[in-house]
């Protein structure tokens, strides 16, 4: 008998009484009068990220280049190395065309797109829409572009949207919620931003 058969057999033999799945629709999760305001507040406080509300007369690229100018540059020309595959963004690295994922570790700024924002905890759903997802983690700083009409109240609503959508996990079988910069408190409990992944996150609401 294979290990699988043995494990399943033991489980079936040893399980005593069984329990039904509860009705999760009766849960009344928290909602907000203004989910966008709540999302902005959570993002800029507990999540430790920055947030820019793009004006209608600005281009996304202008906003991104302004963010880049405020960062310590590592490019030979004294400029930031930007990585992105979003149309209209001037970038030096493209996660679709780099030959190795580790090349994106050289990016000063990664620019990616989020699809759902969650007001209760500042999470942003980022389905993989690029060949190398290392851009989402390995870039020193991250800009996440999010539509303000894509903000929901809580995680239940977010997961319901993901489950109902046919858009995700198609070409690339990965998606992640990111709520801000990488952080740790492993040394004596002192909170430090910039553990292994992005040191800083700027959310651009469009």
């Amino acid at each position: 008998m294979s290990a699988k058969e043995e494990i399943l057999k033991r489980l079936r033999q040893n399980t005593r009484e069984t329990y039904d799945m509860p009705d999760l629709d009766s849960l009344k999760p928290i909602t907000y009068v203004d989910p966008v305001a709540e999302f902005i507040q959570k993002t800029t406080t507990t999540a430790g990220a920055k947030l820019i509300e793009k004006k209608t007369d600005e281009s996304l690229n202008d906003v991104v280049q302004t963010v880049a100018k405020g960062l310590p540059p590592s490019g030979k020309d004294g400029k930031c190395i930007i990585a992105s595959n979003l149309s209209g963004i001037e970038a030096q690295l493209n996660p679709d065309t780099v030959s190795e994922a580790r090349e994106l570790m050289a990016a000063d700024l990664g620019v990616i797109e989020g699809r759902i924002g969650v007001a209760e905890n500042a999470c942003i759903w980022i389905p993989q829409q690029m060949k190398e997802k290392s851009i989402c983690f390995a870039a020193q700083q991250l800009v996440i572009v999010l539509r303000r009409d894509a903000i929901v109240n809580n995680m239940h609503e977010a997961y319901a949207r993901i489950a109902a959508s046919g858009d995700y996990f198609q070409q690339y079988k990965f998606g992640t919620f990111i709520s801000g910069p990488s952080k740790t408190a492993d040394i004596e409990g002192a909170l430090v931003y910039g553990a292994q992944a992005a040191r800083g996150v700027t959310v651009v609401l469009v």
Binding site: A3, K4, I7, R10, L11, N14, T15, R16, T18, Y19, D20, M21, P22, L24, L27, P29, I30, K42, A101, R102, M105, N121, A122, C123, K131, E132, K133, S134, C136, F137, A138, N154, M155, H156, Y159, I162, A163, F169, Y172, F174, G175, T176, F177, I178, S179, G180, S182, K183, T184, A185, D186, I187, E188, G189, A190, V192, G194, A195, Q196, A197
Partner: protein, 459 residues
């Protein structure tokens, strides 16, 4: 013995106590901020009860979906089989270095020692775990494993063991007076670990959850180390205990809201990553590990420990854990859940931990999936005698007390005479024959007993 040395220093113990109680308080604030908190706990408990008692069906469904997504699924009866499977995958890819995010399952199975003995370098990438690995220490907590280590020791360890420490230190832009400043040391670790990610041939992660309906593996971290480990190397191996399954995304909504709120008092972990298949040009393997879990489901008294999602809330609230730290326990998972899991692993080896509980029941009230932790500890204590591990001294005392309480005349005289103990010189009382004297001053017996005061109407 590590525990004894640690506990010698009162200030250290107090700091440990306060640090973890601080986390517990943050958790309370999270709970109070959500009106639906108790409903969520009940829902989480019921989802887990349902899933664990239908686990064979859900595992089959999970395997089917994961396979459909292009993932290789393996099954391991025990630690030995698990270690062999992982080694075989790694060696068939000629892996020399593997980067690994935190997984209690790999600790349970001693994977690292197994791989290292076969010449594969294993690099832990969670900062706390990396510190412990470099210092050759065991975790003292399941979520914050190195919080008991002091910055000076971490700094010394980094300076000795990170070969390009000086080069990294020179690139740190912020002036700092303390050579062991946590922000600086975290920067050093960041640079050191990013080099490891770039060099590694494979990445390993645990699994916080497996979703049967879609075949997703969900990994939650704050550092992003699980994502770095799986975004750069092309081979990803997931180690997952079979009890980690949940049915679907609806259930995931409940658990995502709990993991960080319960464990560290944050609204969410920074990263909640859903791995549904291999990277372009990569490979993904999931090893489903039993290692005793399918026996636990048949244990009428203790099967609900399978609901645990390893958030650590029970240890943060536990007064015994907070004041005695992780090394006081003989099982590698400390605190209330560790006491119970240790007994399920091997009661003859880990029975000593069941006395590390004051039965205050605080753990039962914070557990997000309502594992009845203290009730289970109590049950284990009742079973100690039949396991042959009842403490003979305590047994004698219990028998003696039972005799005393059943003979009122004797009890009353004993009570009347007890203040005489106060006149016995303290070295005689606090000698080694009296186990109470370990770590305690002998108490003063009052002149009059409660009974006497009551009879004299002085209460």
């Amino acid at each position: 013995m590590a525990a004894e040395a640690y506990l010698q220093n009162d200030a250290v113990v107090t700091r440990h106590d306060q640090t973890f109680f601080g986390v517990r308080q943050k958790r309370d604030r999270m709970a109070q901020a959500l009106p639906e908190w108790e409903d969520l706990r009940e829902a989480a408990s019921q989802i887990k009860k349902h899933t664990e008692t239908h686990l064979a069906d859900y595992l089959e469904k999970f395997e089917q979906n994961a396979t459909k997504n292009g993932v290789h699924v393996h099954w391991a009866n025990d630690a030995e089989e698990y270690n062999r499977i992982v080694f075989d995958i790694l060696s068939s890819h000629q892996v020399k270095k593997v980067v690994k995010s935190k997984s209690m399952l790999t600790e349970e199975c001693h994977l690292n020692t197994h791989l290292e003995a076969k010449g594969i370098e294993v690099v832990e990438t969670d900062l706390g775990e990396r510190i412990l690995q470099m210092m050759k220490l065991a975790p003292s907590h399941i979520v914050m494993p190195a919080l008991h280590v002091h910055r000076e020791d971490i700094g010394d360890c980094f300076r000795k063991q990170i070969s390009n420490f000086n080069e990294i230190a020179a690139s740190y832009p912020t002036p700092h007076d303390d050579p062991n400043d946590p922000t600086f040391l975290t920067y050093v670790a960041r640079m050191h670990l990013r080099q490891q990610f770039a060099e590694a041939d494979a990445g390993m992660t645990g699994a916080n959850f497996g979703i049967a309906e879609t075949g997703d593996v969900v990994v939650c971290t704050n550092e992003g180390n699980a994502d770095m480990s799986t975004s750069i190397p092309k081979l990803h191996i997931v180690s997952m205990g079979i009890e980690k399954l949940i049915p679907n995304y609806k259930a995931m909504g409940v658990f995502q809201r709990f993991v960080a709120r319960s464990g560290t008092g944050q609204e969410t972990t920074v990263y909640t990553s859903h791995f549904r298949g291999p990277r372009p040009g990569g490979e993904m393997h999931i090893v489903l590990v039993d290692n005793g879990r399918s026996e636990i489901i048949g244990n009428a008294e203790h099967w609900q420990t399978l609901k645990c999602m390893r958030c650590g809330a029970c240890m943060n609230t536990c007064p015994v854990y907070r004041r005695s730290a992780g090394y006081s326990y003989t099982y590698f998972i400390p605190g209330p859940i560790g006491v119970n899991l240790g007994m399920l692993r091997d009661p003859h080896k880990y029975y000593d931990n069941v006395s590390g509980c004051s039965l205050c029941c605080s753990c039962d009230n914070v557990c997000p999936v309502k594992v009845d932790l203290s009730t289970q500890v109590y049950r284990w204590r009742q079973e100690l005698d039949s396991l042959g591990h009842a403490d003979p001294m305590k047994k004698m005392m219990s028998n003696g007390m039972s005799f005393l309480f059943n003979h009122p005349a004797l009890y009353t005289s004993a009570l009347r005479l007890s203040p005489m103990v106060n006149w016995v010189p303290s070295p005689l009382i606090n000698l080694k024959l009296n186990p109470w004297a370990y770590g305690h001053e002998m108490m003063k017996f009052p002149k009059k007993s409660f009974h006497q005061l009551w009879k004299e109407k002085k209460l």
